[in-house]
Symmetry: C2
Subunit: 337 residues, 2 copies
């Protein structure tokens, strides 16, 4: 067996599993943002006709998976694996989606890094000979996340300037070993957990930026690459506070991030939308990737992209006990072949 | 690349990744049970000197990983991957353990199926050429689980006869590609999510038994095997209610489970311990496997074992919304080579 490990925490995927199909869905606020036209579907009613926001979130995840499979013209019973997770306790959106789909299910928890974690693992399992295809998906919902992680919305609490707005959205990527498709997963870096002792649950960007920097640094060093080897380096949801911090942290390490570097949390909303530090949530990078970003690759504008979703492993229980917020970032390198 | 898929949801691992080292730890009640002598360490004070049960749970997980690495005479920085999760929201025990260890971390959520999910994924990644070794670990704590999933312990709520007692315990398995070790992971079955509409959060056994039956049925059919091809078939934590139900459900499918079939939830406590339907929690199957069960393989008593941990993807939020409890079971086939 060929050794696919590079350096301390990176991997090459010699068979280059392909992205066959993708789909995204987002709510009203996201639809009104700069990327509104790039989502497959948007909706006005944030309950999607369900009796709770949690049920709406599951429905959204199920729907993006259905859309991705339908674009690839396959049924769920010909998909080998479903890899996914979400922000809700016990990853219920993914669990209920797995129940509906019937696809063998690998439940993941990487907070907002889930989109990258699922694509990374899915492509490794395909490259390793364990699956012909795999669907990787995640989602988040503003109203379920707020009440679980912060305050009941009914309280109308004021949000701090560093707070981010959880994206109501979902995205699904279908991976396959069939090499007739142009977008390939060619390398990946598994993140370690970092914690610079940030304790403010309303400043996720600052908690996650160090993990993003460490994963980027490891990736470039492990793979013997530099920033200019990528047309685009994308973080998940650092938002404006985390984005600026990421650039400073990288500069200290001798990594100069220029305009090739963007963050989904900064792109998904514009300043007029009163979202403070930007977007966040698993659905943020998921709905940006599964439409807008793959689209830029397909059009030839972006040839190689490092997609690095970041997760704050934030627990209200542990925050109440005075613990700080550990974070992780996973990276996948996607290229047009 | 050789196709390692068998049937609908099973996989062979041609390189047969090995179990190099393992470690387990359990609390006072578990120490007083029938398997008390098989744990590496037990403890009297369920806070382990920490200021909260949650911190004690993290400490326990960290300690079993440390013990497993120390038995294998390696340091954390020579371990490629840490795969783990736990029952706490945002899998904080695993997250904080990953932060201490610094090993690249893949966070999983499979509820009580996590021990099998982590070994399955870890061995696939090793077999696929992505890692030389991987540590797979999980844990649970009676006092953290009760207050998160059911009632604050201070209420002194009466427990129903079908309720199970969450094991305070942890277990870690170190996997490697080095084939000098005798216990190998040779096949695996990824579970699908099943839900027979059970809504009682105090009867996890009944919720999980259908998933366990479906995974066993798929495994035997995919691999072209029968019950007698195994010396031992082990479920995670169905407990007495789920164990009996599992036998009935299997019989209906023409699978006759005889005395080769055991459940960790039934083995870890004895009847005099007032635990009602038996043990449960991620730590239940983890501390049984990482000591007692591997020990039975090492002694030559068990040559091939199907280890099938079962997870109820139970969410208090969704239960309050009237939802039922979906479940999943993952299986790994371990053999002495």
């Amino acid at each position: 067996m060929m050794d696919k490990k590079r350096g301390k925490q990176s991997y090459v995927l010699p068979d280059k599993p392909r992205v066959t199909a993708w789909a995204s869905m987002a709510g009203k606020k996201e639809a009104a943002g700069p990327l509104g036209a790039t989502f497959d579907e948007t909706f006005e009613d944030d309950t999607l006709g369900e009796k709770s926001w949690e049920r709406a979130e599951s429905k959204m995840l199920e729907h993006v998976v259905d859309m991705a499979l339908s674009k690839a013209k396959i049924f769920a019973d010909s998909v080998d694996l479903f890899l996914g997770g979400d922000l809700l306790n016990q990853i219920v959106s993914a669990g209920y989606t797995a129940r509906s789909l019937g696809i063998p299910f690998l439940g993941l928890y990487g907070a907002c890094s889930t989109m990258a974690e699922s694509i990374m693992l899915g492509s490794m399992l395909i490259d390793g000979g364990f699956a012909h295809n795999a669907v990787c998906a995640t989602c988040s919902h503003f109203s379920t996340a707020e009440r679980q992680y912060r305050f009941p919305l009914e309280l109308g609490s004021q949000r701090t300037p560093s707070a981010q707005w959880t994206v109501t959205g979902a995205g699904a990527t279908l991976l396959t070993k069939d090499t007739t498709h142009p977008i390939a997963v060619e390398a990946a870096t598994v993140g370690s957990v970092y914690d610079l002792k940030q304790t403010d649950a309303n400043n996720m960007g600052a908690a996650m930026a160090p993990a993003a920097m460490m994963t980027l640094k490891a990736h470039l060093s492990d793979m013997g690459r530099k920033v200019s080897d990528y047309d685009l380096i994308v973080t998940g949801d650092l938002g404006h506070v985390g984005y600026d911090l990421m650039k400073i942290l990288c500069e200290k390490e001798g990594i100069c991030l220029d305009k090739r570097y963007i963050d989904c949390g900064c792109e998904v909303f514009d300043e007029s939308q009163d979202v403070h530090a930007g977007g966040s949530g698993c659905g943020c990078s998921a709905c940006c990737l599964n439409g807008w970003l793959y689209g830029r690759m397909l059009s030839g504008e972006v040839k190689r992209m490092l997609f690095m979703a970041t997760g704050a492993l934030m627990s209200p229980t542990m925050s109440q006990q005075g613990e700080s917020i550990p974070s992780v970032a996973h990276a996948v390198s996607l290229e047009v072949v």
